[in-house]
Structures are given as structure tokens and as C-alpha cells.
């Protein structure tokens, strides 16, 4: 046992005996591991953001987030839903309130910057304790209050504000021509730059102004239904019975779609999974290249290492003892590499805000993200990084060490 410990100690000392080789090996592992850790951290961060956004874990009836999202489809595409449906749905037993919402895509400025416009009813924006009211704390300025026919008041995302060089109080050129004529929008607020990426390119306005901007009165993108605890499933059935369905066959007929939070949660992995899958595929390629890189870098100081092994054999070391020494050296190098990689990944995500790599996972985010990118560096990927690092270094060095160790010492030392 003591001889094994002694041999293990020489393995750790061997790291310093070949400093160039050790440094190159560590750098090669870091080059493979850091993008992996940063990527996984971003994916987890985005997943967590998305889960928060759809209220995973918040029980029905908490009034913070809707329990059901009611929308309309025609030929498999989303179509507007009449706002008038909010009233009969609101009368169902167990429904606490129904909020119509407009979500649409618009372009702004000469550069045609794309943005997502969200319109929420004025009373909802001012409702105490609502999610929107909580959002107000993350806004520099005020929530919009504009009514139908007035110039729209807008709260815009930090990304948009930066791209279009807009401040609170600024007016922007008319972005619509409705039956009511041109109205000049005013910026009443800007989302903080450190809030969720979803708000970076978002414009928030009142439901009434959004209807004016899109010139579609009496229609909403969807109806947000808030229910009492334990009620959503029965209310979903009743909504499906209430809505017209396709039976009427006229131009206004549509197929109803009622989505619960659980449905959204189940859809979540699919969206993120695609990018994650592409990333994982790229990482498998990087991992394979990493092994080759380690094999090549293990060539740094190879004649010296070969000679060293030859000397050990000549002076009575056995092949298995040399392999243990090499294994300990590789494992320690792997641990050091993994620790540095985790540290670099945290720095990359925290202080460099996912510079460059965030753009791979977040559509519309530039090389230098304007928003605080979400990330979660959990224990599992960190542990996996340690495993990968040890595997990489061991795989890269084990074969050459074994080959040299079974070579007659006279040849190895030549």
C-alpha cells in the first residue's frame, strides 16, 4: 500500500517534471471543456427562464400567471380570437378573470428592426399584485396607459432601445395607419438591461393601443384564463364546448385551442432541445477532436517522456507501476483542467456575459449580448466535465505510456 502511495506521489510530481507537456495538455482540455460548460450553462439558464415564464411550479389559482391560454386556429395556423368570447368564459364557475392579449410582430426604424409587440388591457397593467405590476419594478419609466384612439404609449426592451437609440420620453415615427389616422407613439419606459432575454426585443403597450397599431379591433391573439385551484381541466372542457368549432363553416369559424401550463411545460424541451441537440452533436465532434488534440499534445516532450520511462524500467520499475504513475498524473491533470474550465466558464458567463456563444442559443442576440444572459452551472455538468477531462487526458496518454513501458528499456532510452 505504501509503495502504491509512493508511486501515486511520483505521478503528481511528474506534472511539474514536464511543465510544457502538462501546460499544453491542460490548455487542450480547457479548449474542449469550456465551450461545453458555457453551452450547457446557457441551455439550463434558458430552460429555467422559460419555466419561470410559463409558471412551472406555481399552482393553479395563484393569480400570478394564467392557467389556460385560449386561442383559435384555422387550417392549422393561429388566427385572432374574438374578444367577445372573454365574457362567456369569464362567467364560468371557477374562472376568476379572463384577460385578452395581443402578441404581434412589427418592424421599427429605418433598419426595420424586428420586435414583438405585446398588448395587455389597461386595467390588467394597473392591477395590484399582477405579474405585469411586478414587471413595472424592472422598468425605467412608467407602464403604458394609452387608450383607444390616443397616441400609443410604449415600454420597449433594452435591446431595442439601444439599437434604435431611444430614451424614455422619445417619440418615434408613426408605426401604423389605422382608420383613426396617424398617431405618434411615445416611449414611456424601457426594460432594464438585466432582465430576461425575452424582453430585450419586446414592446409592451395597452391592449387598446395594440389593437390600433394592428388595426384589428375586437380581436385578440389569445385569452388568458385565470382559474381557481383544481378547476383548469373542467374549465378547459367547457371552453371547448362553448367555442364554435368548425361546424359553422363560415369565414369566421375557427378551431379552438386551449393550452394549459402543463401543456406548455411539455412543449418546452422540444424547443430548447433542438438547439441543445445541435450543440451536443457539435460537442461530440469537439470531444473526438479533443482526444486527437491530446494525443498530439502528448507528443510535446515525448522523447523526454519516453526516455524517462526507459530510465524507470532500467532501474527496476514494473510496467504496472509506470502505468499507475501515469494514471495518477493524467487524473490530476484532468482534475486541474476541469477546475480551471469550470472557473473560466463561470467567468465567461458571469463577467463576459456569454460573449459570442450566447448568440448560438439566443436568437437575435449579438456577439456582445445587451441583456444579462441567463445561465445555470449545475453540479451535474460540472461533474461530467471532471469525468470528461479525466477521460480525455487518460485516453490521450495511456496508450503511448503503455507502448513505451512494454518496450525494452534500451530501446526506450535510445
Amino acid at each position: 500500500m505504501s509503495s502504491l502511495l509512493n508511486i501515486a506521489r511520483t505521478g503528481s510530481a511528474a506534472i511539474l517534471l514536464s511543465p510544457l507537456r502538462s501546460a499544453v495538455t491542460v490548455l487542450a482540455v480547457i479548449a474542449v471543456l469550456v465551450p461545453y460548460l458555457v453551452g450547457v450553462g446557457l441551455v439550463e439558464g434558458l430552460r429555467q427562464e422559460a419555466r419561470i415564464a410559463i409558471g412551472v411550479g406555481i399552482p393553479a389559482g395563484e393569480e400570478l400567471l394564467p392557467d389556460l391560454y385560449v386561442a383559435a386556429n384555422q387550417f392549422g395556423r393561429r388566427v385572432p380570437i374574438p374578444v367577445a368570447l372573454a365574457e362567456p368564459i369569464g362567467n364560468f364557475d371557477g374562472v376568476t378573470r379572463v384577460v385578452p392579449r395581443i402578441v404581434g410582430r412589427i418592424t421599427l426604424g429605418k433598419e426595420n428592426v424586428e420586435a414583438v409587440l405585446v398588448g395587455m388591457p389597461r386595467e390588467e397593467l394597473q392591477r395590484r399584485g399582477s405579474t405585469i405590476q411586478r414587471l413595472a419594478q424592472l422598468i425605467d419609466g412608467q407602464l403604458p396607459r394609452s387608450q383607444h384612439g390616443e397616441g400609443p404609449q410604449l415600454v420597449i426592451g433594452s435591446g431595442l432601445a439601444r439599437q434604435l437609440d431611444l430614451q424614455v420620453g422619445a417619440v418615434i415615427p408613426p408605426i401604423f395607419r389605422s382608420g383613426g389616422g396617424e398617431k405618434t407613439p411615445t416611449i414611456t419606459g424601457i426594460f432594464h438591461s438585466d432582465i430576461s432575454p425575452w424582453q430585450s426585443q419586446m414592446i409592451l403597450t395597452t391592449f387598446e393601443s395594440a389593437a390600433d397599431i394592428f388595426d384589428q379591433q375586437g380581436l385578440a391573439t389569445d385569452l388568458l384564463v385565470f382559474c381557481r385551484r383544481g378547476q383548469p381541466e373542467s374549465i378547459r372542457s367547457r371552453i371547448l364546448q362553448l367555442m364554435p368549432g368548425s361546424s359553422t363553416g363560415d369565414a369566421t369559424s375557427f378551431r379552438p385551442s386551449v393550452t394549459s401550463r402543463a401543456d406548455l411545460e411539455s412543449l418546452l424541451p422540444a424547443g430548447l432541445g433542438h438547439r441543445e441537440g445541435v450543440f451536443n452533436l457539435l460537442f461530440v465532434v469537439a470531444f473526438a477532436i479533443g482526444i486527437l488534440v491530446i494525443l498530439i499534445t502528448s507528443g510535446f516532450g515525448r522523447p523526454e517522456r519516453r526516455r524517462e520511462i526507459g530510465i524507470l524500467k532500467a532501474t527496476g520499475w514494473q510496467t504496472d507501476e509506470i502505468l499507475v504513475r501515469s494514471l495518477v498524473e493524467s487524473l490530476l491533470l484532468g482534475l486541474v483542467s476541469a477546475a480551471i474550465s469550470i472557473l473560466v466558464a463561470v467567468v465567461w458567463l458571469k463577467w463576459f456575459n456569454g460573449f459570442w456563444i450566447a448568440g448560438i442559443f439566443l436568437a437575435g442576440v449579438e456577439t456582445q449580448p445587451a441583456i444579462a444572459v441567463p445561465y445555470v452551472l449545475a453540479a451535474q455538468p460540472a461533474g461530467l466535465a471532471v469525468l470528461i477531462a479525466c477521460l480525455l487526458v487518460t485516453t490521450g496518454s495511456a496508450y503511448s505510456t503503455w507502448r513505451t513501458a512494454v518496450t525494452p528499456p534500451a530501446e526506450a532510452m535510445r
Binding site: S3, P408, M413
Partner: protein, 227 residues
Amino acid sequence: MIRGLLEAESLSRIYHPGTSSEVRALSDVSLVIPAGSYVVLAGPSGSGKTTLLSLLGALDRPTAGGVRFSDRNLEECSDVELARQRRRMGFVFQDFSLIPRLPIWENITYPQIPRGLSAAKRRQAADDVLARLGLTAKADTPPEELSGGEQQRAAVARALIGNPEVIFADEPTSNLDRRAAAELAAILQEINDNGTTLVVSTHDTDLAGSASLVFTLEDGRLVDATS
């Protein structure tokens, strides 16, 4: 028949056999090295001295023939068994073969690490041997900071540390100046006087003059044996 500590029987070594670069380094060499003797392998460069030394010291395997060390036929030994046999031997190489950046005391006790000796015991053993060879002050110095003569003495110290039955030295004075070579020759003589068998390959006539037995090689063949 004389039974020696080391016996070579029809020893041959061919490098890259069957290829265009085939080299017949040693052909049909038989010799006996008695225990406690001071043996010199003499001959011009390329005559096969180093190859013979490597085969006798279990650092290489012969193409044909065999070596008997004490009671063991080396060609029958497994890799593990060969390593054990090497622990009964000591080696001094022409280029010293010390591990760079490793302090001398650690360098010379490195062979003892797998034997489970604690660092304190190894240090004690190193200090004893280094004192014997006049290297006490250099114990914590890495080899690259030592002169050629000091490095070769350190290499001798490494060969001595395990109290081997035989020490093989390959051209030990060839990289040394006259004074250092003379010092080393005296050290080797002292080692032999203490009962350790010495097998030295050399061009150095002074070293050859100290030998009890000189084997002369030419073109891989043993051409003379003088006692």
C-alpha cells in the same frame, strides 16, 4: 565448467531483422562473468559493447541465445520478473540518464519508490551514498545544474543505492574530462573492491587497466578474452 554470476550463451542481437535496414549488432557471443570480478568490454565504436551490456543487464532481449543471471535465465523471465532482476543490478549510462528537474537525492532514490520506502528513509539512504561520492552539497540540486563529472557520480550513486550484485557502466568516462574520469575510475575500483561485480564498456585504457577480465569485441563478435 565455471559458474559465473552472469553467463552469456551464443548471444546474438539483430536490429530490424528481415528489413533493408537490418543490423547484426552482436553475433554468437558466449562469456562468463564471475561474481566480484571487474570486467571491461573493450572494442572500437560499433563493435557491439553497448548491445552486449544491454543484453547482460536485461535492458534488451536477444534475437538468439540467452543470458543467465545468478540462478535465472533472463530470456525466460516475464516483464515483471525482468523488472525484479533489474533491481538486483545497477546501471551507469554514458549520458548519465538522470531525470531532468528532479533533485539529485530524489533522482538516485527513484528506483526505490516502488519498494515502499518512505521519503525520509530514501533521503537518509541518498545522503549516505552522496556523502560517499562527495556530492552531499548537491543533494537538492537538479541534474542540469551539475557538471558532467558530478552528474556521472550521481548516476553511480543511483546504481549503488539498492546494493546491487552487479553494476553495468556504459562508457562512463567518455563524457568527462581527464580529472573527472580519473575520479570516477577510482570510485568504480572502490565499488569493486567492496565486492560488487562491475561490467564496464569503455575505450578508456585506464579503466581497462583496472579490470580483472577484458573481453574485446569487433563487429559484434567476441575476439579476445584476457584476464
